[in-house]
Symmetry: C2
Subunit: 82 residues, 2 copies
């Protein structure tokens, strides 16, 4: 298992409720892939969303996001943390 | 005070020790700007680093990073979180 940060673009104007709904869709699909989405942060002005997860692989992270209907633009393993 | 995510590029090969040293430089400079750097995540392969902070403004986040010697490429307010 590793830690991953993924990035989505195009979410200009996203609200807390919309981010929570998107996160709940991820949570609904994550178990089959062994992924857990921990937190997410969004900038409604630029439309960028960052999601932090623990997962067996970047592909597994992407598969959960695809099942939830919002494919990520980038998925980065982030093994180096403070 | 708000929450900010900033992004640095070009840190290919960064180690846990190097990230910790960079983070400690931020901590050494953050008080004068009312910023607190909470966590950071790095992908040594692509060289991207994400830093999570609480701060009075994006400019304050950038000033701390500049004083620490590593200007961010992007600083995003992330008022929407889960």
């Amino acid at each position: 298992m590793g830690t991953f940060m993924d990035v989505h673009h195009g979410f200009q104007g996203i609200t807390n409720e919309q981010l929570r709904e998107a996160h709940e869709k991820d949570l609904a699909h994550e178990k089959s892939e062994g992924v857990h989405f921990e937190r997410a942060w969004a900038d409604p002005e630029s439309g960028v969303v960052y999601c932090l997860s623990t997962a067996p692989s970047a592909d597994a992270v992407q598969r959960v996001h695809e099942k939830a209907g919002h494919r990520a633009d980038e998925v980065h393993p982030v093994p180096v943390t403070v």
